[in-house]
Amino acid sequence: MFLSFAILGLLYVIFLSVLAYLGLGFVPITIVAGLMILAQWYFSDRIVLWSSGAKIVTRDQFPELHDLVERTVARNNLPKPKIAVINTRMPNAFATGKGPRSSVVAVTTGLIDILDTSELESVIAHELTHVKNRDVLVLTLASLFSTVAWYLMQFGFYGGLYGGGMGYGGNRNNNSAGAMLIVIAVAMLTWIVSFLVIRAISRYREYAADRGSAQMTGKPIKLANALMKISGTMKNIPTKDLRQKEGLNAFFIVPALSGSTIGNLFSTHPPVQKRVEKLMEMEASMS
């Protein structure tokens, strides 16, 4: 976790110093990209709730769900999140929100149907750990680098074409064309490396959330069962919800920004098999 951030920070510094050295006017673009990702973070909960069709539910509508969440947050001294339900057969859950105090935990009706109370509790605890660890913020920050790099790559590419064709001639033209190439190369490298690091961070956060869930519930095997049930069903029922999700992920640049979805099979998540193995090891170590 710390190492990932150190690497990302270092990349960012190198990247900025190259820019500064070249003295190119990329500052406005960096600011715009920064603002965009800030807005994305700020509106993330509303965007995700709106696009997933999640509805905030009251205690009267889902008393058992509220009880489960309340008992878990009460024992761990966490603020109670808003609870949302998505009306779909697809079993899934996610957490979103700017911080622990304004977070939302959403589950699908399919999830409530296939899991028993303890399994549902373990999935909720997994999502609560994401909230506690501020994973949406962490991944937003992490993706800042790749977003900026992406914009610079494009800008460098078009800027290079433009500069090559309509330069003012002489040495200056050659210099700026060379500079453009360097910027493109550096931006590309930044983008590739940060892309990989984001996925590494994301996978690491998933394991951390699994561990957090195991500690909160005291029963790692329940989360293992839940994960197997969820992944089993997900493979068997292809519905249009998956396509919706893909669109959502594209919009978010980094898939994990659509909230921290449990049990889905994107590369931002470790394979379910491995997660189950780790949970079973935890379960075994308890006896």
Partner: protein, 195 residues
């Protein structure tokens, strides 16, 4: 993560991992007299400690240790106890005694056994039951939250309705005597528990 937490000024709450504050529990023994004299609420002599069930032998041993301890206490006082499970996989140890002090010290000691076993985060709440003066309604509770070390009221109006008016009266009456949860959003209800 400390850096980020400080950066975001997110220090207002924390997970209170391994602190068991027995003093808070014992302040109930004077507060219950205030409840009786000012609000006509009398202890029914019943209380329950809720504990999240955990997999494995070590936790099972801790539960055995609690039983052994309580069996000994039972012989030395008029304390009785029983264990039950609820649908959320929580274990409830229900205590009964004519002396509130005995219940408080038993619950405190039980909490310490759980804590020593390494399961303090599994401690949920201790619920102390009160009835109004004519004894017709047994569904007034003071709930002690182990994560915050604070008490809050929980009064049933009907099977799934709370009586917020009496809950606020209880807060006004004893909030100076007990470590009291003043944030009403943390007054989590415990439904369907028969002591």
């Amino acid at each position: 993560m400390n850096f980020f937490k400080r950066l975001l000024k997110n220090t207002s709450y924390h997970v209170n991992d391994y602190i068991i504050d027995s003093g808070s529990l014992f302040s109930l023994s004077s507060a219950q007299i205030t409840l009786e004299t000012k609000l006509n609420l009398k202890s029914t002599g019943k209380a329950a400690l809720g504990l999240k069930n955990v997999s494995g032998r070590i936790f099972a041993e801790t539960v055995e240790e609690i039983k052994n301890f309580l069996d000994i206490s039972k012989r030395e006082s008029d304390l009785s106890y029983r264990l039950m499970n609820d649908s959320y996989d929580y274990i409830w140890i229900v205590f009964q005694s004519g002396k509130v002090e005995d219940i408080i010290s038993s619950i405190s000691a039980t909490g310490e056994i759980v804590h020593d076993g390494g399961f303090s985060k599994q401690l949920f709440v201790a619920m102390f039951q009160f009835s109004n003066y004519n004894g017709k309604k047994n569904d007034h509770y003071l709930v002690y939250n182990y994560a915050t070390n604070k008490f809050y009221p929980f009064v049933l109006l009907s099977k799934n309705e709370r009586d917020n008016k009496i809950e606020n009266e209880i807060m006004e009456t004893v909030s100076n005597e007990l470590p009291f949860e003043r944030d009403e959003s943390l007054w989590y209800p415990i439904w369907n528990l028969t002591l």
